[in-house]
């Protein structure tokens, strides 16, 4: 169950190999965490997350194979996970793929792949999760979006557009669940130094997964529904969003 400080005892992660989710779990493990279910396509990265959690706590961690890109299958898979492990206090959606803009922008197939992993699969999955949380009568959802979704930029518009769709979907889903006792947090990180961004030049205001995670847990405790990480990037994005197109298009972003 979830306590009055929003600390969950059981957490289900989609994108179970995510470094940000891993850091979130390590913080939660110091509070009330007892059981974790990691779902993802790759067991190697999930094993790493499991051993990290178990160095700081005695929480039980289970691994489940799950591919968010199979949009037609995710609901059935999610229902199965809930019937096995439910009720589940907190669901973290951390699945995502950055893609390679320069390669992908020529390939309709790659665009479909990125969009499936970042939006189509997650949207179907969040809908299944919504139904399960309503059935169990309580719960939390944490969705990792991106500042890339706030204002899609030409330097990564395939990823950005998929995150924009997810961001809007998750925010409105959260609003629709707020008066049903279910709490939703949408997180918009800026540049985070992870495997996903390996080899890329770090953007200004870049963060470590640990920094993002501590802001996520803080936001949960404060019951905020939308945060930026780092908080300052909110104002940068706000400014950028309001730039006239003629000027914005001249900025190499």
């Amino acid at each position: 169950m979830i306590d009055a400080n929003s600390m969950p005892q059981s957490v289900l992660v989609f994108g179970g190999g995510s470094e940000i989710a891993s850091e979130v779990l390590q913080i939660l493990a110091e509070r009330r965490l007892e059981t974790v279910v990691l779902c993802g396509p790759g067991f190697e990265s999930m094993e790493r997350v499991r051993s990290k959690i178990q160095t700081v706590s005695s929480a039980k961690v289970d691994l489940v194979h799950f591919d968010v890109a199979q949009a037609n299958e995710v609901a059935k898979a999610a229902d199965h996970i809930f019937s096995e492990y439910g009720p589940i206090d907190c669901v973290i959606l951390a699945a995502g793929v950055l893609g390679d803009q320069l390669r992908d922008e020529e390939s309709p197939e790659e665009v479909i792949k990125v969009t499936n992993v970042n939006y189509v699969g997650p949207a179907a999955l969040l809908t299944a999760v919504r139904n399960q949380l309503l059935r169990q009568g309580y719960g939390q959802i944490v969705v990792l979006s991106s500042v890339a979704g706030e204002r899609v930029r030409r330097s990564n518009y395939i990823y950005g557009a998929s995150k924009a769709a997810l961001d809007g979907f998750a925010l409105a889903l959260g609003e629709s669940l707020a008066d049903k006792g279910i709490y939703t947090l949408v997180v918009r990180p800026g540049f985070v130094k992870t495997k996903m961004t390996e080899g890329l030049k770090a953007a200004p205001l870049s963060q470590t997964p640990k920094q993002v995670a501590s802001q996520i847990v803080k936001a949960m405790e404060q019951q905020r529904t939308l945060i930026w990480s780092p908080p300052a990037i909110r104002y940068v994005m706000s400014l950028y969003r309001h730039l006239p197109r003629a000027i914005a298009s001249k900025i190499p972003m």
């Binding site: 169950m1 306590d3 600390m7 005892q9 009720p87 009568g137 309580y138 008066d179 006792g181 405790e221």
Partner: protein
């Protein structure tokens, strides 16, 4: 759902899911109200008992007026009872000073009927808006605990509807000890016979003492409590430095006789709402500045008060009841109450805890400090000899969880415990240490309810049912 079909057509009805929380409005969950129709308490007991014998029944938690602060009377995807269904029995016996009463009646409803006839409830908390069922489930205490103990001590007998049948329980029964203070987890209390206090007037003779710091507060309570039936200190946990722990202490006695001016209606009792709080307060309304100003005013008002005065029952016992829905003052994000007890000899720890709260500038209205009397012997009852401190804190503030965990550690190290009726955040590991009879409680509850039908969000969070 086959369950719904089955219950349809019987005397039980299940309402649509709704968001339910405790008085602190956090945490929340979706539950359904279980309504029981019938002509008498006995008829309803029989119908409820039959429904509970169905192993496939959804979980059930008894719920009264929802005044416990946390998650003890909520159950996600489960069923909640409705106090309106349990108001058929009300038999006052003036000769034996006892009242046989259905569990859904509130202390407010009871007082309105018995005070004009010269009786008072044996124990009242800071609000009249608790049901008899809730008072038993939390084994509530009041300003007279140091003399008269907690609520269940004044129960002659009670009827428990559990999945293994309808039982009449008395003080010495194992099931009684598990049910009193058992947070509704052993079954449903449908009615009880309560010992009442005879009173001659509806007034309280009040002695007020304002203290300058915690040491003086502690000294005054230790020295003078035994002289009074009712005692409590309103303590300012936001005061700093030399004024840390300054308090307004009030002691009281039921007034024996009135002077000629109001002697015409000495048992008059008709408390009214002064105002009601609309649900528009923002969560930042109560902050360290606004609350500090309030506490300062309260303290100065205490200083101006006469040393002795005559007050009505409602102003002495239930000042907050004059303001309807005052929990809305904390806004949508809600609040929690932290209440613990530590042994008398742990005064130094009490001071350290008050200092932690003051240093953290937690915007807390005047907290309540009181000395408890002996333990009840009920397995999960909260009071034990020592100091109890209770304070309201706005929820969902960063760092609050860790701060309270640190206070828990200090409380447990002294052999103290927190009050389950207030709790919404204590860690599971500490419960067995705080409540050494937990195991016996669990065994008794399991014998009464082997299929674990009686649960709550709290019992799931803390593993109270094992």
């Amino acid at each position: 759902m086959s369950q719904l079909e089955k219950l349809e057509g019987s005397a039980l009805r299940i309402e649509e899911p709704r968001v339910v929380s405790g008085w602190g409005r956090t945490p929340r969950s979706l539950g359904r109200t279980l309504r029981v129709d019938g002509q008498s308490t006995e008829e309803k007991e029989a119908r409820l008992s039959e429904a509970l014998s169905d192993k496939a029944l959804l979980g059930v938690v008894p719920r009264g007026l929802g005044r416990s602060y946390g998650d003890s009377a909520t159950l996600a995807a489960g069923l909640l009872s409705d106090p309106e269904d349990w108001k058929d029995t009300f038999e006052l016996d003036p000769h034996s000073s006892t009242l046989e009463v259905s569990s859904g009646f509130s202390l407010d409803e009871i007082m309105r009927k018995i005070v004009p006839r010269g009786f008072f409830v044996p124990v009242t908390p800071g609000t009249r808006y608790v049901t008899v069922g809730g008072a038993i489930a939390s084994d509530i205490h009041g300003k007279n605990h140091h003399v008269e103990g907690s609520f269940a001590k004044h129960i002659r007998s009670m009827t428990l509807v559990s999945p293994t049948g309808i039982k009449n329980l008395c003080q010495d029964d194992n099931e009684f000890k598990a049910t009193a203070g058992g947070m509704g987890l052993t079954g449903f209390v449908s009615k009880a016979v309560i010992d009442l206090i005879p009173i001659k007037t509806s007034k309280v003779f009040v002695t007020t003492k304002v203290t300058k710091d915690l040491a003086e507060t502690v000294e005054e309570l230790k020295t003078n409590d035994s002289r009074y039936r009712y005692s409590v200190a309103w303590i300012d946990c936001m005061a700093k430095g030399g004024t840390l722990g300054r308090s307004v202490i009030t002691w009281g006695e039921h007034l024996e006789d009135l002077d000629h001016r109001s002697a015409e209606d000495p048992l008059h009792f008709d408390p009214k709402f002064v105002a009601s709080i609309p649900d528009i307060a923002p969560s930042w309304l109560l902050n360290k500045f606004s609350v500090r100003v309030f506490n300062e005013l309260w303290y100065r008002k205490g200083k101006l008060a006469k040393e002795t005065s005559i007050e009505s029952i409602e102003t002495f016992f239930h000042p907050l009841d004059m303001v309807g829905d005052w929990n809305r003052l904390y806004g949508q994000k809600g609040f929690l109450q932290y209440q613990f007890v530590i042994p008398f000899e742990a005064e130094a720890t009490l001071e350290r805890i008050v200092k932690v709260l003051s240093d953290a500038a937690v915007p807390s209205f005047l907290a309540v400090l009181k000395r408890f009397g002996p333990e009840s012997g009920n397995y999960m009852s909260f009071p034990k000899p020592g100091w109890t401190l209770a304070l309201d804190i706005p929820a969902h503030r960063f760092g609050l969880g860790e701060m309270l965990d640190a206070l828990d550690a200090m409380v447990v190290a002294e052999g103290g415990r927190v009050y389950l009726a207030k709790d919404s955040r204590v860690s599971k590991e500490l419960i067995a240490i705080m409540y050494p009879e937990l195991k016996r409680f669990q065994e008794t509850a399991e014998a009464l309810d082997p299929n674990f039908i009686f649960q709550s969000d709290m019992s799931r969070r803390l593993g109270l049912r094992g």
